[in-house]
Symmetry: C2
Subunit: 344 residues, 2 copies
């Protein structure tokens, strides 16, 4: 059961290790090795079931053929989709993925980057959280290939791909307005990230354009707060906001908290309250009708992020110079029932 090494193949084929290495790495003609010899070596390698030891290759070349992926949480469906696509696409370029997640801990990002650096990953795809600016700057200073996903830092010039957040919330708001909703609340999180700002701005802009007030209609939760506390705050918000007709949740996680709160209050969707949520989570498909989602095109985001990274790794085939890519979100109305016009 001993692994066969390159040396073994060389011995069996009766040539030197270098020759085997050249052949197996497709440098046969470049090194002007005869076709006969080359194919003989290939054959021996195949017959012996030879696979190069990636650890040795990595040590020697300094390349690991591994990409580091840092997401917020592995368990979320949006990130699971992203991961799956990225893994698939990366495989086509001969790269593996190492997953890590910050698990909503603001401070954990730093360690993770360090950990991946130690593991000698060849590039990074990162969903940034506040506080990571420093580390990302270091990676760039170090000439490491980096792509940001889902968000970015305005001050840092690094390729990034994300959904068009402003457009997404605009779409959702337009939908609510069209259905006749006026008293629309907005639940967000106190995360200092561009995408959250964009979403809130789109909400405010819409409300103001429609001549509606936003006073006392915006709830901002703490990011690292525990779940139960979040549910409580959302519940109170819904209960204590007079005449509330609809709530826009700025992230999927907030939507989950909101839904739980709505259940606890015994409210019926969408008759008592309409609900709309950014970040489609696959489970929304299972919820009762009356929920609308702004769907992030996970596949496209993932694919694009990987392309941007491959570009930096010299394996790309286009998108030169581009550094910011925004993708249009979709709007999904769950179930057959559309929002019900409120009649008070």
């Amino acid at each position: 059961m001993k692994r066969v090494s390159l040396k073994d193949i060389a011995r069996i084929a009766g040539v030197s290790p270098s020759t085997v290495s050249f052949v197996l790495n497709g440098k046969a003609k470049q090194m002007r090795i005869s076709e006969t010899l080359a194919s003989k070596i290939m054959e021996v390698a195949k017959k012996e079931g030879y696979h190069p030891n990636p650890v040795a290759v990595s040590l020697r070349t300094g390349k690991s053929q591994i990409l580091g992926l840092i997401v917020e949480t592995i368990s979320g469906n949006f990130f699971a989709s992203l991961s799956r696509i990225i893994e698939e696409e990366a495989a086509r370029f001969g790269y593996k993925i190492v997953y890590t997640s910050t698990e909503n801990k603001l401070q954990k990002g730093k360690e993770l980057i360090g950990m991946l650096a130690q593991r000698q990953v060849d590039g990074y795809i990162i969903t940034p959280t506040p506080g990571m600016e420093q580390d990302i700057n270091e990676l760039i200073a170090d000439n490491k290939p980096v792509v940001l996903m889902d968000s970015y830092f305005p001050g840092i010039d690094v390729p990034h791909v994300l959904v068009n957040n402003y457009e997404g919330v605009k779409k959702g708001m337009a939908h609510l307005i069209e259905k006749g909703y006026r008293r629309i609340g907005f639940v967000t999180v106190d995360l200092n990230l561009v995408q959250m700002e964009e979403r809130l701005k789109a909400y405010n802009d819409t409300m103001h354009q429609e001549g509606l007030t936003t006073e006392n209609l915006v709830l901002s939760l703490k990011y690292e707060e525990d779940k139960e506390k979040g549910i409580q705050q959302v519940t109170d918000f819904i209960k204590n906001t007079p005449e509330l007709e609809a709530v826009f949740f700025a992230t999927n996680y907030l939507g989950l908290l909101g839904l739980e709160g709505i259940h606890r209050l015994g409210l019926k969707l969408p008759d008592d309250l309409a609900m709309i949520c950014f970040d489609d989570h696959d489970v929304f498909r299972l919820y009762p009708p009356g929920i609308t989602c702004i769907q992030q095109p996970a596949e496209e985001i993932a694919r694009t992020a990987l392309e941007l990274l491959m570009e930096q790794l010299g394996k790309g085939n286009g998108i030169p110079g581009e550094t910011k890519i925004e993708i249009s979100p979709g709007l999904v109305v769950r179930g057959t029932t559309e929002f019900v016009q409120k009649v008070k």
Copy 2:
């Protein structure tokens, strides 16, 4: 930005690389290196920010300090919980985890094991699917540490940990019976695995003990079938089974299909139909009342699996000889409403 190597530390500290290596690996006194020298070396290493290159260590020692985890699907919540715990626990022993999933493809397991072998993982935690017997046998023949989780192969003598499936279904059935349900359907999947057999057996046993018929009450779906088709079959089953009062779904995934079907039929839980499901999925917490779950203690399973593996890696501290561990499941009734006694 160049990484410092062990050699650099040796040069700076004015000693040989071997000495540095011994000190940093805690073999200072074993090698009878003076405390003064040792602490001086430690200091230099810290000051220079030295971290050993894991790739080099791995090549030299043949150990990677990486464990391979093969689950069915990374996106599922049950597996996400497992992964998280395993990662945490493994870290305490100095191990990293590489995740892979079969994504419900029966045949993919083989490739994955091969892939992990190439990456030189030091041990395996595997959620087995049919067809993996061969590969698992090879690992054992190869003396690789292996632990199975969530299921096992009766013929193969390898440590495994799983929930007590029979007990779980028994509990759930007892609950239904107690609430007055009699016409209880069972939806399972045609997977040739012990845990599915145990679950079905518990259902059958209960029904027979209660003097109830199971005729036409069991639906078995194909494992690799697509989602939509599964939903259709469950929907038909519910529609075409006269007087059906409750349905027991043997896995979480089946439960999701069932719930979707129930929505489509416009049925109300639990008034029209009661639903109970094995494998707690966190999202059930968000469903309307009337659903009951047999909850797999993911934490305990994960922790135990890792302990069993550490045992094999010589880092354990107990559980000697034990090879099969069954953990009792919990029963969770969602919401305030219990099952409603049927009155026809």
